[in-house]
């Protein structure tokens, strides 16, 4: 990579990766620091700089409650956090610009950073992809809405500053990535959990039209009539609800005016995971989404999923989406006893329930399914506590696979591009969980190929799984099709075939669910409100 590299705002110089064929640029500002009067405003372009900026250190992380997402990172925390990172293996000999992957980190819209080592883009860069990771505003700094903020906006909208940051990062990519050997016409956005939710929102946002060509949602691409969507990362708020919550939030801090709110130092504005739960959200159960999350504001997000998909208003992009074996309340059988003893006392508030007793399972089923509860309990019988645990997990997994399959059906009804769905089942012992499980986020290390020795004693089998996963993802980013030489065939989603591609323990299509169960869930969703 010839250095320094030109960007709109100035010259940058990166450093070699651990593999000298890759150059990494850390901490390039993609927007002006959203501080002072710019707090709770759409991001502005960064100030240009003279000379060469050394892009060898990650930018600060956005203000957030310290926790596992930042462990071992030793990065400062600051409102001045809108920085991105680029990994590229491009050389002067390239005959063609390289496809680009823009990664949106997860963390419940409340924590996280693009600088986390598990999102290191070097392995994918060695496979010919230009990788971009970045920070966006989180928590109340990213998603606060108030009537005063909406009034200040020419669009009469507030609450989506974090999403606007994501759009700004994509705009930076469009204008600058060619200088890094990337092709602005072949951009894929990808994210996990809240990052996947973000990808789903960007896929509905007119502001992001043309800025990307395909999307990857790792967990949480759900059908709009699946009630679980309401508490998962694809959940949204209405502007009215968000403004009301924002007014309460400001009052709790003794800030009656926007000026006063803007004057508070950021440690006064960080919400931990208990206080930031949206308990008022109607999710049909105990699971609740975080309070500060995207808003259907009529501008960044013009409408809900049903409204958008039924009119074909979504961005015309291909998709790759899936779920994991042990997430959304499904857990390995050997943990049933632990959950029985722990009860609900120690969980994250609003977490998806794990029903491991007959009584809890049956009670919850009656609440959720109403008139259809008897049919549900026949399909997922539970005579003992252990039966109940197994039935609960089977139901969660069937729900997820079927919901994503139906989502894909709606998505492709108006968008002409193929969709690929998956079900991740691999539980590596190295992840450090006891017992090991294919938990939420466990696929990330394998997708990025980040099996570094200092992160665990990975086995040959782990490396083989990573080779396959990075192969699929790199192919999808390059062509919109994960298939390629040497990889087990992954059929595209098809209305004719109720199946999903298993990834991990095996690499082959598996049936979505037993036919009577599939039929049940389809009918159940029809009884639910569309979001």
């Amino acid at each position: 990579m010839r250095q320094p590299v030109k960007t709109e705002a100035g010259l940058v110089e990166g450093i070699p990766g651990w593999d000298r064929s890759v150059t990494v640029f850390r901490g390039i500002p993609y927007a002006a620091p959203p501080v002072g009067d710019l707090r709770w405003r759409p991001p502005r372009p960064p100030a240009p700089w003279a000379g060469v900026r050394k892009a060898n250190a990650f930018g600060p992380v956005g203000p957030q409650a310290p926790g596992p997402e930042l462990d071992g990172l030793d990065l400062p925390m600051s409102e001045d956090c809108l920085y991105l990172n680029v990994w590229t293996g491009a050389t002067a000999d390239d005959r063609r610009a390289r496809p680009v992957l823009v990664w949106i980190h997860g963390g419940g819209f409340r924590v996280g950073t693009g600088a986390h080592p598990r999102y290191d883009g070097e392995a994918l860069a060695r496979k010919g992809i230009v990788v971009v990771t970045f920070n966006y505003r989180l928590g109340s700094l990213g998603f606060l809405a108030t009537p005063e903020l909406s009034a200040e906006s020419e669009h009469r909208a507030s609450g989506n500053y974090g999403l606007l940051d994501q759009v700004a990062a994509l705009e930076w990519v469009r204008r600058n990535i060619a200088h890094f050997g990337g092709d602005p016409e072949r951009v894929t956005i990808a994210g996990q959990s809240a990052g996947a939710g973000s990808a789903n929102f960007l896929a509905m946002s007119p502001l992001a039209e043309g800025l990307f060509h395909r999307a990857v949602a790792q967990s949480h691409a759900r059908h709009f009539r699946d009630p679980e969507l309401r508490f998962l990362a694809s959940s949204y708020r209405t502007l009215a609800d968000a403004e009301a919550a924002g007014t309460r939030y400001a009052a709790e801090r003794g800030a009656r005016t926007l000026r006063r709110l803007r004057s508070l130092p950021w440690p006064r504005l960080v919400e931990g995971n208990a206080s930031a739960v949206d308990s008022a959200a109607d999710t049909g159960g105990p699971a609740k989404p975080p309070l500060f999350r995207p808003v259907v504001d009529g501008w960044v997000i013009p409408g809900g999923y049903e409204e958008t998909y039924s009119r074909g208003r979504q961005n015309d992009v291909g998709y790759l989406a899936g779920n994991n074996l042990d997430e959304s309340g499904a857990v390995p059988e050997s943990t049933f006893a632990v959950y029985r003893t722990a009860g609900r006392r120690t969980w994250r508030p609003g977490a998806p329930p794990v029903h491991v007793t007959r009584e809890a399972f049956v009670t919850a089923s009656r609440e959720k399914f109403g008139a259809m509860a008897e049919e549900f309990l026949r399909l997922y019988p539970a005579d003992t506590d252990d039966d109940a645990g197994r039935a609960h997990c089977a139901a969660v997994r069937d729900n997820a696979r079927i919901s994503t399959w139906l989502w894909a059906k709606d998505w492709t009804a108006r968008a002409g591009r193929p969709v690929y769905t998956y079900f991740w089942t691999y539980a590596s012992p190295v992840m450090g969980q006891d017992p090991r499980r294919a938990s939420h986020g466990s696929e990330i290390d394998f997708v990025f190929g980040n099996l570094h020795p200092d992160r665990g004693e990975w086995t040959d089998h782990d490396h083989a799984v990573a080779e396959t996963m990075t192969g699929y993802w790199a192919n999808f980013v390059a062509t919109g099709d994960p298939n390629g030489p040497g990889l087990p065939r992954w059929p595209a989603w098809s209305a004719d075939t109720p199946s999903v591609m298993e990834l991990g323990n095996a690499f082959a299509p598996i049936p979505l669910a037993d036919p009577p169960r599939l039929d049940f869930w389809q009918r159940f969703f029809l009884t639910q409100q569309a979001w």
């Binding site: 250190a57 409650a65 997402e69 925390m77 963390g107 809240a194 990362a233 931990g272 939420h440």
Partner: protein
């Protein structure tokens, strides 16, 4: 993974662990230098941030005040610690004594495994310096010092060293514009390692003292310079 996300279902966290989590979290926030010295911290904000009761957060703040991470005064409330130049010099001088003693013990007591780990860390630091990976070098630097401390197998010295708060001092007074790593830094670490590998306690003590003293002197020079001539507003034209 994603424990603040939408999908966390790990059970088993008790309230005793919650207090230590809040302590660890607030302490790491303070050590990162993300909150300017002298900033007021209110109980209400911290309980919201860390998901604990007020009484738990009060206990955490008392512990952090006792350890010197925060100050607690009647009319000023709880504030992040701010060190005067004299306090900073005093702490760094104490660090010199303790850390050079630890290096001497490491030369006596480091196991072969610990020496292999130190060698790996040093190699990483060399690699980072060649690549220009400042952050990687700093991380390796921290790990090196941590490994020397542990290789000393001297609990009392190590505990005393940990109470020093010198990372807070470094954060407050670090010179962001100086070349990093400081010239000679890598060679000083190599000298310390060599003394440990050759099982020479006197040499290890001397090499560590020289290394930490150089860092202290560079820092103090900068601190005194800034006190005499405070840096201007970096955002001014």
């Amino acid at each position: 993974m994603d424990s603040n996300g939408f999908d966390e279902t790990e059970a088993g966290r008790t309230s005793a662990t919650r207090q230590s989590q809040a302590y660890d979290g607030l302490r790491s926030l303070l050590l990162s230098g993300s909150i300017p010295p002298g900033t007021r911290l209110t109980e209400a904000d911290l309980t919201r941030m860390f998901n604990v009761s007020r009484s738990t957060m009060r206990a955490v703040l008392v512990q952090l005040a006792q350890e010197g991470y925060v100050t607690s005064e009647v009319n000023r409330g709880v504030r992040t610690r701010s060190f005067s130049v004299e306090e900073a010099a005093d702490i760094l001088e104490a660090r010199e004594t303790l850390e050079s003693a630890l290096a001497g013990k490491a030369a006596e007591r480091a196991t072969d495994e610990e020496i292999a780990e130190l060698r790996r860390t040093l190699r990483t630091m060399e690699e980072c310096k060649t690549r220009g990976d400042q952050a990687g070098y700093s991380q390796g630097n921290r790990r090196f010092h941590q490994q020397v401390k542990e290789a000393a197998h001297q609990q009392t010295l190590a505990r005393a060293y940990d109470t020093l708060l010198y990372p807070l001092v470094m954060r407050q007074y670090r010179n962001l514009t100086a070349p990093h790593p400081r010239t000679g830094s890598l060679e000083e670490h190599q000298a310390i390692f060599l003394a440990i590998v050759t099982r020479n306690p006197e040499a290890a003590t001397a090499a560590m003292r020289h290394h930490v003293a150089s860092a202290r002197q560079a820092l103090m020079l900068q601190a005194r310079r800034e006190r005499a001539d405070p840096p201007g507003d970096p955002s001014a034209p």
